[in-house]
């Protein structure tokens, strides 16, 4: 009966989106050119937006993981190469800094009836972006393995480490943990997640001066290092994407991973259905007796380019309204944690929702955060491999950040 219900909901949703397609979104004229990252939820959105194409409305898309590197040059040209840039908490910052996106207040007033207040990203009172999904890293665990060994679902890093030790001591798994510790973006993201859990701030109040070489920073690094002792010896080369095949091979019992990929982990057509069935999600662990999950909350949204004609901007906004409509979210409920009206959390969304409810903090949106992220990514590897102390690693990060921030004009 439940399956029947599910099926009928899906069919209704499909019919609903088909209905929108035939309505042609009501756009008269214009060109919609979408630049976005490359994952399931964004595919669904772009496909829905493409249904707005007609003889007079052209919709094209470029979905690539390189989007972050081409967005600024692409939107700087006049007219801009793309009318819509799909962005996230961090990638919107360079666009705002470069003054490359237009305020959306008028468009929201006219065509934004489906939007909720929480979706509107306001900067200095003006709506600059529309968010449609939330993302965060959280705990993935194998329910069967934990239950078989009498381990409760861990809520703190201390418990994760204890559980890993139990599994290793019992001979269940030599390396039960995984996390994206590849030096560069991934390792830095793990540092940011864990550091946020300590309650620390990355910068001194009201300045661009980094403030991570402190007890919180050291606690964070020590935790990451201890986690790594329960990981495959190749942990330094794994990023977020490379963990899935290992998980599906049944070689990991717990990992920290992204909410946006959970759908694939528990998909019914997974190559190892037994493991998919036993895969569950929970909030990111707390750290050092803290109370909030150690995870940065991210939102994904879109902006409309400044350097395009008003006609194209209008067409783009309306096409994106179809793209992120409640119908799209309903038809692709497993693909993301939607911020869209009418969305109800699915089993795949449990982790991100738990992070949000647990009070996890958002990824900092200050313009120099990207520089600190890079400095973290470049300078933590030696510590992780036991070649230098935590203090030295954090001092190296600070030095690298200071140099870059000076060159970028944020520090004197």
């Amino acid at each position: 009966m439940k399956d029947f219900l599910k099926a009928s909901v899906a069919i209704t949703a499909l019919l609903a989106s088909a209905g929108i397609a035939s309505a042609e979104c009501g756009i008269e004229k214009g060109s919609v050119r979408i630049l976005s990252n490359d994952f399931a939820a964004l595919h669904a959105i772009a496909t829905a937006a493409e249904t707005c194409a007609s003889d007079t409305v052209k919709v094209t898309k470029n979905q690539t993981s390189e989007h972050k590197n081409i967005q600024v040059p692409a939107l700087t040209t006049n007219p801009a190469s793309y009318t819509v840039a799909v962005i996230a908490t961090n990638s919107v910052v360079p666009l705002l800094t470069g003054d490359l996106v237009r305020p959306l207040d008028d468009y929201v007033a006219k065509w934004g009836q489906d939007l909720q207040e929480s979706q509107l990203i306001r900067v200095d009172g003006k709506i600059m972006a529309i968010a449609f999904m939330a993302n965060a890293q959280h705990l993935f665990y194998r329910e069967d393995i934990l239950a078989d060994n009498g381990i409760a679902v861990p809520t703190s890093y201390e418990e994760v480490l204890a559980a890993a030790k139990t599994l290793r001591d019992k001979g269940v798994m030599q390396n039960p943990l995984a996390s994206g510790y590849k030096p560069g973006w991934d390792l830095a993201a793990e540092f940011v997640n864990t550091y946020l859990g300590t309650g620390g701030e990355f910068f001194k109040e009201g300045s661009a001066e980094a403030d991570i070489n402190n007890d919180n920073g050291i606690k964070t690094l020590e935790t990451l290092k201890e986690m790594s002792t329960y990981m495959s010896p190749d942990f330094v080369t794994y990023n977020a994407n490379e963990m899935r095949p290992i998980w599906e091979a049944g070689d990991i019992a717990m990992q920290i991973g992204w909410g946006s990929v959970t759908g694939a982990y528990i998909a019914e057509d997974s190559p190892s259905p037994e493991i998919a069935k036993a895969t569950k999600f929970a909030a990111a662990p707390t750290i050092g007796g803290g109370t909030i999950p150690s995870a940065a909350l991210w939102w994904d949204g879109f902006v409309i380019a400044k350097n395009i004609s008003d006609e194209d901007a209008e067409a783009s906004f309306r096409a994106m309204m179809v793209g992120i409509s409640p119908a799209t979210a309903e038809a692709n409920a497993d693909a993301a944690v939607w911020l869209v009206k009418g969305y109800e959390a699915t089993p795949a969304a449990v982790g991100v929702v738990a992070d949000m409810q647990g009070g996890a903090r958002p990824y900092p949106m200050v313009p120099y955060m990207g520089l600190l992220h890079t400095a973290l990514g470049d300078n933590l590897a030696e510590f992780m491999q036991g070649q230098e102390s935590a203090e030295q690693a954090l001092a190296d990060v600070t030095a690298a950040y200071n140099t870059a921030a000076k060159e970028a004009g944020f520090l004197d």
């Binding site: 190749d234 330094v236 080369t237 958002p362 949106m365 060159e407 004009g409």
Partner: protein
């Protein structure tokens, strides 16, 4: 050749060289003297799905005015060259004064990003280049003795590493040496050490990169030497045989001296190529243990929200300087030979 005729022949390539080599290098050099304008910051309230917060933002309008005034940015002179990310004069000086032993000084200097990268780059260049020349020569000698019928296929297989796209070749090997890959798992079995990882250990990563470098470049040396071998004068070889020279003596006293200019040519090419080592670092995800000068440029331009053009330009100029220093001895040698012949 009269100078006028020479000029008539050379000017198209000269023009191309000025347009595509000299001008870009000059522009990179000019760029390296500038950094971004100081950012004008304002405090604004920003709201999103996770609540509101007062945050610092760049004042885009004020910045675009500044940029319109001086589009190159703020003049920084040689500041970028001497900052901690490059030559780090202050840090090296402090390390010299603050360390008790030379070993400690070296350790402190090797912790600076530029010197770390330079050390790996030099190690790679000076280990891979001679090995490529020796191995390429050996393969060429071996292939030259294979029977005519087999020569075609043997040459083809010897060239394979060069035919494969560098990045693909690196990735194939990367997955083979993974702890779960063919080579990695076998090594763990052989040495009976489940924690053995070619990817995590710095030394083994370096060795892997060197091996890959030799594997990838040896065919180039092989092709050049093989072509050279076809022109070794047969009568000299035959008279050496008449004199009773063994096979080794013939190679040592006839073939090698005859092919020496080719070895110089290969050394020249390989020194340049290896000094710019980049793809294997990306392919092997070796950033944690090995960075090269080219990797520094890449990382300045790509990671982070703002490409650091000044920093990347300074690294580029330093790399060019490094290539010039490396090639000078070889070039002087070639020049002397040229003069001698002239």
């Amino acid at each position: 050749m009269p100078h006028r005729t020479f000029l008539a022949f050379i000017w198209p390539s000269l023009l191309a060289m000025v347009l595509f080599i000299a001008i870009p290098i000059l522009s990179v050099g000019y760029q390296s003297l500038f950094v971004e304008h100081p950012q004008m910051m304002t405090e604004v309230e920003s709201c999103g799905p996770f609540g509101c917060k007062t945050e610092r933002r760049v004042d885009a309008a004020a910045m675009s005015e500044l940029r319109a005034e001086s589009p190159m940015g703020r003049y920084n002179g040689m500041g970028t060259y001497t900052n901690p990310s490059h030559l780090a004069f202050d840090e090296v000086g402090a390390a010299w004064r603050g360390s008790e032993s030379f070993g400690q000084f070296l350790r402190l200097v090797m912790n600076l990003p530029f010197y770390k990268a330079l050390f790996f780059t030099l190690a790679y260049t000076f280990i891979v280049t001679p090995l490529v020349i020796v191995l390429g020569f050996c393969i060429a000698i071996a292939v030259n003795t294979v029977s005519a019928r087999l020569k075609g296929p043997v040459i083809f297989f010897s060239l394979l590493p060069m035919i494969v796209t560098p990045l693909i070749g690196a990735l194939v090997l990367f997955w083979m040496i993974d702890a779960r890959g063919v080579i990695g798992a076998t090594l763990q079995q052989v040495f009976n050490d489940p924690q053995l990882s070619l990817k995590a250990s710095p030394t083994l990563t370096w060795v892997t990169l060197f091996v890959y470098g030799v594997w990838h470049s040896a065919p180039f040396a092989f092709v050049v030497f093989y072509a050279g071998l076809q022109t070794v004068p047969q009568d000299t070889l035959e008279s050496a045989m008449v004199d009773g020279a063994s096979r080794w003596e013939r190679i040592r006293f006839v073939t090698i001296p005859y092919l020496m200019p080719l070895a110089t040519f290969i050394a020249l090419m390989q020194l340049m190529d290896n000094f710019r080592v980049f793809e294997p670092i990306i392919g092997f995800s070796a950033e944690a243990n090995a960075t090269s000068l080219s990797y520094l440029i890449y990382s300045d331009l790509r990671s982070g929200d703002f490409p650091l053009f000044g920093s990347a330009a300074a690294s580029s100029i330093l790399t060019i300087g490094g290539v010039v220093i490396l090639l000078t001895p070889v070039l002087i040698r070639t020049w002397r030979e040229f003069k001698r012949k002239g």
